[in-house]
């Protein structure tokens, strides 16, 4: 299903973002509302390669907040199902120690939804 996109003011990417879920769209709208410069999936980090240099595992965080130099990954999965994502974030931090990334869990999204009256239904 194609998500209806508003005109973003603080979006700094060159291509229109193609959000994977309504939760991502809602987060983008909140960032935009508060004037936080953001990009959507601007960089893929290689986490593992074989000896020939082929990429075995990679990770593309959802948002990059350029003024904060912060990547944000959001997940609406239940806490019990986020092990794989946690592992990716941990690997990214190990392999790219200078990169700042924050993982927003379902509970964080629910708190934001309560605070900002978001519609996170997927």
């Amino acid at each position: 299903m194609e998500l209806q996109l508003p005109v973003f003011q603080a979006y700094r990417g060159s291509e229109p973002p193609r959000f994977a879920s309504p939760a991502e769209l809602e987060c983008a709208k909140v960032l935009d509302y508060y004037g936080i410069a953001w990009e959507y999936e601007p960089r893929t980090f290689v986490l593992e390669q074989d000896e020939a240099g082929r990429v075995l595992e990679a990770f593309t965080p959802d948002f990059y907040l350029s003024e904060q130099d912060l990547y944000v990954e959001i997940t609406a999965m239940k806490q019990s199902l986020v092990t794989r994502k946690n592992r990716k974030v941990r690997k990214l931090r190990e392999r790219y120690p200078g990169v700042r990334i924050k993982l927003f869990y379902r509970r964080d999204l629910e708190r934001l939804a309560q605070h900002f009256h978001l519609d996170l239904a997927s």
Binding site: P6, V7, Q9, K29, V30, L31, D32, Y33, Y34, G35, I36, L65, Q68, L70, V72, K102, F104, R107, D108, R111, L112, Q114, H115, F116, H117, L118
Partner: protein, 169 residues
């Protein structure tokens, strides 16, 4: 119960003394961000034994009924005072992502104050999206729960409770 009225009062008095020490001879302006921080601001003001002013600002939070279809944050109630050359202490109920405070700081800095700092009753630093904020005074760093009382509400109820209580939905 999360924090009793006595515990809140004790910590607020400590914060007031700290602010009075830091701003001695400078007559700062407490900027209360409506509405939840009203109770905290009133107590904090009375705990600061130096000359200071109080003013109020209200922003249209995302998703609020007063957002009015706007896609950018805006000021609903602006300051009455001219803050050029003044020392500002923004008084917040809670700092979470830092999005609101970041906007308020940037907006006030455009007015040429001598300095801008923030005092918050509650802090949730683990969910911060904007780190570069002048948060100088923190009452309590709190777990990820919902609270009512001492100015915090649920659907405009329970702000009047003298203590801070956990809300179980």
């Amino acid at each position: 119960m999360y924090l009793t009225a006595a515990e809140l009062s004790h910590r607020v008095r400590e914060m007031g003394a700290e602010i009075a020490h830091d701003y001695a001879g400078r007559e700062p302006v407490l900027v209360c961000s409506l509405k939840a921080s009203v109770v905290f601001t009133a107590d904090l003001s009375r705990a600061i034994p130096i000359l200071h002013a109080i003013d109020f600002v209200e922003l249209a939070g995302y998703g609020s009924a007063r957002m009015g279809g706007h896609q950018q944050i805006r000021v609903l109630k602006d300051l009455d005072l001219d803050v050029r050359g003044r020392d500002i202490v923004i008084v917040e109920d809670v700092i979470d992502t830092g999005l609101t405070l970041n906007y308020l700081v940037r907006t006030l800095e455009l007015r040429g104050p001598a300095s801008v700092a923030a005092a918050t009753l509650l802090d949730r630093p683990y969910r911060r999206l904007v780190d570069d904020l002048p948060v100088r005074y923190v009452g309590f760093t709190v777990p990820d729960e919902l609270y009512v009382g001492y100015g915090f509400d649920i659907d405009e109820r329970y702000r009047e409770l003298p203590d801070l209580r956990l809300l179980n939905l």
